[in-house]
C-alpha cells in the first residue's frame, strides 16, 4: 500500500485544505461548510469552545468519520482515497490519549509501531526510546499505562505521534490535564517541531495556551469557522483605544479631532477615541500646547483574548 511516499509537504504549500466540509448527525450540523486552510510550515491554532466542532473536524481530517458534505486534502492527497498515503506522514492526538491499560507505556508504543507498515522494525527500539525521551517519559516507560497520571498519559500520546518522522502533527487539546509546567513544555515542544519544519495543527479551547506558538489561527463557533487568519492579520484587526482623563473635555475634543482621533466619546472623567496615524506622544504634545490639563492618557490595545471571546461568545450553553 502507498509504496511511494509523496514529496514532503505536497499540495501547493498547504498541509490541510478543506472545501465546504461538513458533518451532519440527523438534524444537527456538527460542522458546517468549513473552509480550513493550514499552510505548510504553519503552527495553526484551532480554537473554539468545547462542543464547537473542533474534534469532529479533526476526525474528518484523519478519515475516522466521513464528511456529509465537501471535500478535503491532507498533505496534498485528496481524501478519503489518499488516506493511506497521507497518514504515515501525519502524527495525531485525537480527543485524549487512549492505550491498553495493562501494557506498559513502551509496550503500547511498540504495538502502535508494529501496526505501522512503513515503520522499520530494526529501528523500532531506538525510535521509541527517542520519542519517550522527547516527552520526558523515559523513566516511566516500563510502568503500566493504568498507573500513569493524566499528564503522563497525555505525554505518551504525544510520544506516539512522534514515533516516525512527520510532516504534519494534529494535536487535539494536547495540554488537557497538564499542569502549567507541562503546558509550557508542550508549547516548547511544538515550537521546536515547527522549527524542524513540521506543520502543526493544535486545537485548544484556550487561546492563551497556544497564542505564543501559533502563526495562524482559526476560530470555531457552533460548528462554523468564524475567523481564520495569520496571527498578525488577527492582531491588525484589533484597533487600539485612546483613553484620556481630563477636566477639559470640550477643548480636548477639538485638539484630538485635529490630531486625527476618530469616534470620540465622552467618558466619566474625559474622552475615549480611536487614534489615527499620530503617535500618542504627539497627541499629548498637542494637548498640552493648547492648555488642556492632561491627568492621564493611555493607549489601550485589546488582548487577542478579548477578540476571541467576542468571536466565540461567553455563554455556558451547550448546543443541544
Amino acid at each position: 500500500m502507498a509504496a511511494a511516499d509523496p514529496p514532503a509537504q505536497a499540495g501547493d504549500g498547504f498541509a490541510v485544505r478543506t472545501e465546504g466540509l461538513g458533518k451532519r448527525y440527523g438534524a444537527q450540523d456538527a460542522v458546517h461548510d468549513l473552509d480550513l486552510v493550514v499552510p505548510a510550515g504553519a503552527v495553526y491554532g484551532f480554537l473554539g469552545p468545547n462542543g464547537s466542532g473542533k474534534t469532529t473536524t479533526i476526525r474528518m481530517l484523519l478519515g475516522l468519520i466521513s464528511p456529509t458534505t465537501g471535500r478535503h486534502e491532507l498533505l496534498g492527497h485528496p481524501m478519503p482515497d489518499g488516506l493511506l498515503a497521507a497518514l504515515p506522514r501525519v502524527g495525531s492526538l485525537v480527543e485524549g490519549p487512549a492505550f491498553h491499560p495493562h501494557l506498559s507505556g513502551r509496550a503500547n508504543l511498540t504495538r502502535l509501531d508494529a501496526a505501522d507498515q512503513h515503520a522499520d522494525p530494526a529501528t523500532r527500539h531506538t525510535r521509541i526510546g527517542e520519542a519517550l525521551e522527547r516527552v520526558g517519559l523515559t523513566a516511566a516507560a516500563g510502568k503500566r499505562f493504568r498507573a500513569y497520571s493524566l499528564g503522563m498519559k497525555q505525554r505518551l500520546a504525544i510520544a506516539a505521534a512522534l514515533l516516525a518522522p512527520r510532516d504534519l502533527l494534529v494535536l487535539d487539546e494536547p495540554t488537557n490535564g497538564l499542569d502549567p509546567q507541562g503546558t509550557r513544555e508542550i508549547r516548547h515542544l511544538v515550537g521546536a517541531l515547527a522549527q524542524e519544519g513540521v506543520t502543526v495543527l493544535i486545537s485548544s479551547h484556550l487561546l492563551s495556551e497556544v497564542e505564543q506558538v501559533c502563526t495562524h489561527v482559526g476560530v470555531m463557533r457552533a460548528g462554523t469557522l468564524v475567523a481564520q487568519d495569520s496571527i498578525e492579520g488577527l492582531r491588525a484587526r484589533q484597533r487600539a483605544e485612546l483613553v484620556l482623563t481630563t477636566p477639559d473635555p470640550d477643548r480636548a475634543r477639538v485638539v484630538l479631532q485635529r490630531a486625527g482621533v476618530r469616534e470620540l466619546a465622552a467618558s466619566a472623567d474625559g474622552l475615549t477615541g480611536t487614534p489615527g496615524e499620530q503617535p500618542a506622544e504627539r497627541i499629548v504634545e498637542a494637548l498640552v500646547a493648547d492648555g488642556v490639563r492632561v491627568r492621564g492618557i493611555e493607549l489601550r490595545t485589546p488582548k487577542l483574548e478579548e477578540l476571541y471571546v467576542q468571536l466565540t461568545g461567553e455563554g455556558f450553553d451547550v448546543r443541544g
Binding site: 500500500m1 468519520i65 504495538r111
Partner: protein
C-alpha cells in the same frame, strides 16, 4: 501484517482474563478425570457418543469427553470473550482511532483481528485436548481405543483422530468467531458482544433440540459440531463432518462479509 498479527496475539494472550479462561478450559478435563477416578468407575452415561463412560477404560477418551462437555458452553464462551475485545474493546478503550490513524487500513485490521481469533480458537481447543490427554494418561493410561463401531485402533491412530477432531472443533469455533467479529463492529461495548454471541450460540443449541424445528437443523451452525464423534468409528464416517465444514465455511464467509460491510465505512466516534 505479520508484525501486527504478532502484536495482536501477544495482546490477547497477555490479558489476565484470557489466561484465566484458558485455565478454566484446562480445568474441565482435569475435573472429569479426577472425579471419575475417585468415584471408582464410570457412572452409566447412556453409553452414547459422549465418551464419558469410556474414560475409565482408556485415558485417551478424557480429551474427547472434554471436547463434548466444553463444546456447548465453555469453548463458545471463550471465543465470545475474545471477539468482544476485537473491535468493540478497542473502540471502547479509544485505541481503535489510534490504530486507524497509524494508519492501518480497515480491511487489514479486520483480517488481523479475525486471524487472531482463529489463533485463539486453536489455542483454546489445544489446551482442552492437552489437559485431557495429560490428565487421562496419568490417571487411566493410554491404550488402544475401542471405537464406537466396536473395533480397536492403536494409540498412534487414536492420537491422530484426536487431532483431527480438535481441528474440526476449531473450524466450528472459527465460524462462531466470524459472527463475533461482526457483532464486534456493531457496538463499543465488548461485554455486549460476548452476551450476544452466547445468546446466538445457546439459541442455536436450543433450536437444535426442538424436533418441530427439524427443517431448520441443517442450517444451524452448531448442529453438526458434535460430529467429530464420527471420527472414532472404524472406518471414520465423514459425511456429517464434511457437511459441518461446509456450514462452518458458509457462516464464516457471510459474517466476515457483513463485518467488512459494516466496518469499512463506519464513523469512528469513540
Amino acid at each position: 501484517m505479520a508484525s501486527l498479527l504478532r502484536s495482536e496475539i501477544g495482546l490477547m494472550m497477555s490479558r489476565r482474563r484470557n489466561q484465566m479462561g484458558l485455565l478454566v478450559l484446562a480445568g474441565v478435563p482435569v475435573l472429569l478425570a479426577v472425579a471419575t477416578k475417585l468415584s471408582g468407575g464410570g457412572g452409566e452415561h447412556g453409553g452414547g457418543a459422549d465418551f464419558i463412560s469410556q474414560v475409565t477404560q482408556n485415558g485417551l477418551f478424557v480429551p474427547l469427553a472434554s471436547l463434548t462437555l466444553e463444546l456447548t458452553l465453555f469453548l463458545p464462551m471463550a471465543l465470545a470473550m475474545v471477539s468482544g475485545d476485537a473491535i468493540a474493546g478497542e473502540a471502547h478503550q479509544g485505541t481503535l482511532r489510534y490504530l486507524l490513524t497509524v494508519p492501518v487500513s480497515r480491511v487489514r485490521l479486520l483480517a488481523v483481528k479475525y486471524l487472531a481469533l482463529v489463533f485463539g480458537a486453536f489455542v483454546a481447543v489445544t489446551v482442552v485436548l492437552a489437559a485431557g490427554l495429560i490428565a487421562g494418561t496419568l490417571l487411566f493410561g493410554a491404550r488402544p481405543m475401542i471405537t464406537l463401531s466396536g473395533t480397536t485402533i492403536g494409540v498412534g491412530a487414536g492420537l491422530w483422530r484426536l487431532a483431527i477432531a480438535g481441528l474440526y472443533v476449531v473450524a466450528g469455533l472459527c465460524a462462531l468467531a466470524a459472527i463475533g467479529l461482526f457483532v464486534s463492529t456493531l457496538t463499543e461495548q465488548p461485554i455486549a458482544v460476548t452476551v450476544a454471541v452466547m445468546v446466538v450460540t445457546s439459541a442455536m443449541w436450543i433450536a437444535d433440540q426442538i424436533p418441530q424445528l427439524s427443517f431448520l437443523h441443517g442450517w444451524l451452525l452448531v448442529d453438526r459440531w458434535p460430529a467429530f464423534a464420527d471420527l472414532i468409528r472404524q472406518p471414520p464416517v465423514w459425511d456429517s463432518i464434511v457437511q459441518g465444514l461446509l456450514v462452518d465455511g458458509a457462516y464464516a464467509v457471510v459474517f466476515l462479509l457483513l463485518a467488512w460491510a459494516r466496518f469499512a465505512g463506519k464513523d469512528i466516534t469513540s
